[in-house]
Amino acid sequence: MTTATAPAGYNFAYLDEGTKRMIRRAILKAIAIPGYQVPFGSREMPLAYGWGTGGMQVTAAVIGASDRLKVIDQGADDTTNAVSIRRFFARTAGVATTERTAEATIIQTRHRIPERPLREGQVLVYQVPMPEPLRFIEPRESETRKMHALVEYGAMHVRLYEDIAAHGRITTAYGYPVLVNGRYVMSPSPIPKFDNPKMDMMPALQLFGAGREKRIYAVPPYTPVRSLDFDDHPFAIERSDQPCALCGSTDTYLDEVVVDDQGGRVFVCSDSDHCGERQEAGRAAPARA
């Protein structure tokens, strides 16, 4: 945990209050229309576009002095970009930070949803590179906006069906499209599809910020989020057939770590906080089995 004071010359959490108000309006609209991408006047941030500027603007707009912020990238708190973003808010907002999922009021994430179920009152802020789930089917924004407006999602289903026809399964492994509240097809950001079920009826508020593409969208608490599938090819998540080498977990998302050049691999939890908690618990109460 670190605390700091905001540097002179900058407003609390970097953005000026007028900008924050503009972003909050976009967030409110996004919450009112779950899964709809709200255009907003995205600002340059002192981090490069593509490096979490959307998530940072959302976090800056919702964070207050009493918040406790956690930042993860690939599920871990100590990856360099997560460190950099956490430092940014410690420096510009002077807020408390934490690596504990349970203790955080705001969690900014890239590519993962924490393993520990989130609770009411928490806010999960996703960094989003490409907010448009239809982008690789139709490159034009003017067209995709129409497709959303008209619920014209046939092309997306055809694409998924073509996968099944060619490969026997849907090959999308991350950024797997979802249908929010039965209305908008939405990109969950590039999380592994393993995490998709966690979005459904989540008690926490989920906010998505895409800085470069200038879009904000949201999933309010307890909103149905369904991964697109077919009756005869239901959505299923991928699982590693090995346990975590550190905590022994068999129900978490694992990273594969190459340990030598002879094909040696170990698997460890991608969620570093969850894995650490399990290891601590394991030490406190030695394995019974």
Binding site: Y10, E44, A48, Y49, R140, T171, F194, Y253, D255, V266
Partner: protein
């Protein structure tokens, strides 16, 4: 075991320290001053101001120094600073016809009212390395007196725009002022199709290299619009602002601008007679290559409006404007450096699974 991603915090600190050392280089060589960059790297300063959308020579020079001469990085630094500044409003349209020019040429007419003024240009230098510059000795023939041109003052003859001269005869399309509030791409997300003010803003701060390549492509047949450099001028114009509490115009300063007006063929359609059409380029500072490329691309993007069949990249507004910004592009291309192992792991599992299935299918046949 497994320490690959640990220690991010210490690694960042060490990296910042190395970066500072690299920036300074050999400490036995005197450090660059901001003034030196501002005075002697003035075209780099101009480019950083233009694409950073901020007219401040000192800060642009500082950004260049901090970025170790990486201009796209310097542009990013300036933009990230600019975004924290309040917006007071927008100025009155600048009158470039009243520009105090230090350079003004037309390729369409041999002579034009106000005359041709060559000014400082690389155009007629022979591109031979000048080994005399290897040392910092004073050079014969280079006066230390202030430069003429912009400072030449009110004696400058009137220099009406070449395109306006054509306009008197109705040979070129009129360009009516709409009087509407211009768009602001720094505040509003684009919604395609955009209006021309928004488009020109996006082009004006777009990446020079990108616009150069697109403009070039129109010359090679991908959306050709038969351009003539009607006029290129570079110099200082006054900026006037109407503070709402005063209600009248106040001059708040001068900026250096490069303006390019391209004259393009138009064969006419329906009951419209043939006439010339315009492509417009305007950038902060001295940036002729950029202003000319911008004018070519602006004209190419008017294809639909002028009833031409758009089919080339330079004529595709959404394509051009969505990819012209180098701060956007640089960030997103380089974000591939960030860890993606969660996604890659998901792909690994998927590919292994597919290969397994393929093997089973192969065995079954």
């Amino acid at each position: 075991m497994y320490v690959a991603v640990k220690g991010g915090e210490r690694a960042i600190d060490a990296s910042l320290e190395m970066l500072a050392r690299e920036r300074r280089g050999d400490t036995s060589v005197p450090e660059l001053s901001i003034e030196q960059i501002e005075q002697q790297m003035s075209l780099a300063v101009d480019r950083v101001m233009a694409e950073g959308s901020l007219r401040d020579r000192k800060l642009a020079a500082l950004a260049i120094k901090q970025a170790r001469g990486d201009l796209v990085e310097a542009i990013f630094l300036l933009r990230a600073y600019r975004t924290t500044l309040p917006r007071f409003g927008f100025s009155e349209p600048v009158d470039t016809a009243a520009m105090q020019v230090s350079r003004r040429i037309s390729a369409a007419f041999k002579d034009v009212p106000g005359g041709q003024l060559l000014g400082p240009t690389f155009d007629y230098t022979h591109r031979l390395l000048d080994f005399g510059l290897m040392t910092a000795a004073p050079r014969p023939g280079v006066s230390s007196a202030p430069m003429p041109g912009a400072a030449a003052g009110p004696e400058q003859p009137p220099m009406p725009h070449v395109s306006d001269i054509l306009g008197h005869d109705g040979l070129i399309e009129a360009e009516p002022s709409h009087g509407a509030e211009p768009g602001d791409i720094t505040r509003d997300p684009p919604s395609f199709p955009v209006d021309r003010s928004t488009r020109l803003q996006a082009l004006s701060r777009g990446d020079e290299g990108f616009l150069l390549a697109l403009g070039y492509s129109t010359q090679r047949g991908y959306g050709n619009n038969h351009p003539f450099a009607g006029e290129i001028r570079f110099g200082e114009v006054a900026i006037a602002f109407v503070p709402p509490e005063l209600g009248f115009e106040v001059e708040i300063g001068d900026v250096e601008l490069t303006e390019c007006q391209m004259i393009n063929q138009f064969r006419g359609r329906g009951d419209e007679p043939p006439r010339f059409t315009r492509g417009y380029g305007l950038v902060f500072g001295h940036g002729e290559r950029k202003a000319m490329a911008m004018a070519l691309v602006d004209r190419a993007l008017r294809a639909r409006e002028l009833g031409e069949e758009p089919g080339s990249p330079a004529q595709d507004e959404e394509f051009v404007l969505s990819h012209a910004d180098n701060v956007d592009a640089s960030g997103f291309v380089q974000h591939l450096k960030l860890p993606h192992y969660v996604d890659f792991q998901a792909e690994l599992l998927a590919v292994r699974d597919l290969r397994e299935k393929a093997k089973v299918r192969g065995a079954g046949e």
